[in-house]
Symmetry: C2
Subunit: 320 residues, 2 copies
Amino acid sequence: MKALLFDKKLRFSENEPIPTPPPGEALIKIKMAGICNTDIEITKGYMGFKGIPGHEFVGVVEKINDADQSLLGKRVVGEINCACRQPDCEYCQRDLGRHCPNRTTLGIFNRNGCLSEYITLPLVNLLEVPDNIPDEIATLTEPLAAGFEILEQLTILPSHEVLIVGDGKLGLLINHALSTTGAKITHVGKHADKLELVKTNGCKTILLDEMPEKKYDIVVEATGSASGFDFSVSHTKPRGTLVLKSTIAADQKINMNPVVVDEITIVGSRCGLFKPALEYIKTGVDLSPIVQKVFPTEKALDAFELAKTRGSLKVMVDFN
Amino acid sequence: MKALLFDKKLRFSENEPIPTPPPGEALIKIKMAGICNTDIEITKGYMGFKGIPGHEFVGVVEKINDADQSLLGKRVVGEINCACRQPDCEYCQRDLGRHCPNRTTLGIFNRNGCLSEYITLPLVNLLEVPDNIPDEIATLTEPLAAGFEILEQLTILPSHEVLIVGDGKLGLLINHALSTTGAKITHVGKHADKLELVKTNGCKTILLDEMPEKKYDIVVEATGSASGFDFSVSHTKPRGTLVLKSTIAADQKINMNPVVVDEITIVGSRCGLFKPALEYIKTGVDLSPIVQKVFPTEKALDAFELAKTRGSLKVMVDFN
């Protein structure tokens, strides 16, 4: 099968073996796959991952190694963490398979990813996608779920003043997720054209250069930069909450003193459950402006190059 | 009056004017004052403070500029943040005067501190100390309250496994505060003799070199070092809570990635209310081993030098 392959460098292969689904797993023919910043970090050595990257996809179930064949032939999206589900696993028992210490993660840790024609995933990870949702929108379920993860961790009330920092693709999807809370949302970023894309969600938008000194009850940092972190801390109220949605390069200097002095709570936030995200997509909301370009399979390396470009929105590869 | 004075350098003065209490405030004759790491940071430029440092004390009320004279002649301790208490102040209205943006702070911000013979403080900040509590133990109310602050911010259950990192004076006082929760507490530090001081609280103690890989529900970082922060993160369970109790020098490199990946919550924690701390002291618990040495007034500069020594416990100045 065709696949992007990373081992020290990223290359396109036409001869990768089609995987065989182990018990409880399905073989999925990929239709569309998205490229995430984590994939780019992987090509810089993140997680020491070698193999096929990619964890955002929509595909069709071609084969199931299980008595339950109900998803056969269905179009699905899939959660990326594959937990051990053992009775002695604290996290699996708490329904937090995303934190199972024995987990594999699609295209990130010990499991080949979806920038390829085929993957396997456990049946329990799969959710059927209604026919009326286009492939590229369904592919956004995974990064959108990362936005909805915030709502699993935090109670956001309509009375809360919320600031989203960063107008990249993650920031914009977070805006969509948080728009469901009714909170008073302000979105700050560097790009008027990107901020324009979320104005329809009813939020206020501010260009970074025009940001006032105001502090917010809840701030969501979605830039992944040390300067974005400092900016976010300085705009969080004393006793307020800062959601850290992006990893920040480990060699940056970060000033944690205001976190102590203002007793700020920082909530690290990563992958989310797909259900709330898919339900939101089913409402018919138009997420298409977040998809910048879809490349054909053979141009997957070009897709990666575009995804690496500063300021690019979501780039996808069409495996249909 | 005699006082320690900081303006670029720290010096001992015998001729400072005795302050006059403004309306609503009391003049307090200091009996004993403690030296905190924050005082040491102030002599390095923290907060740009100039004047008399010090915010841990016990003293006797000598004069009150208010109709309510009930505390006159009483021995008191005093909370260090002096809030504006205005009806339009969000934090004062939420009973969070500690975060009032217009506050002054004893010996830290816009208000002379207690390493001197006299201070003034608002009456509302003062709590009477029972006669049977020695001066040096009463002086520990302030740093002990910083430990109890954790219990105002977090729910700690007997089922929780808690790790306290750092066996300095703050770490030891935190141990006392958290021992009231019934949680399963482990205290890790570098000094067997210091860890010995909290064993009577029923906790488990571990030397840093012998620390296993175990992760905890709640970790309290009380070392104030970047390495202590990294250590604390690595011993916090996914979805667990890390309480950041000390400021960390701003020029350190900190790796926040595990915070995102493991969805750790970091809770910045600073000053606490005095009441729970004083109630704990009233139980008669023996905190005296935490006081390393008490210096006479004229030796206040020597006291400061000892307090700066790596590994020193609480150093105090006797102004009686």
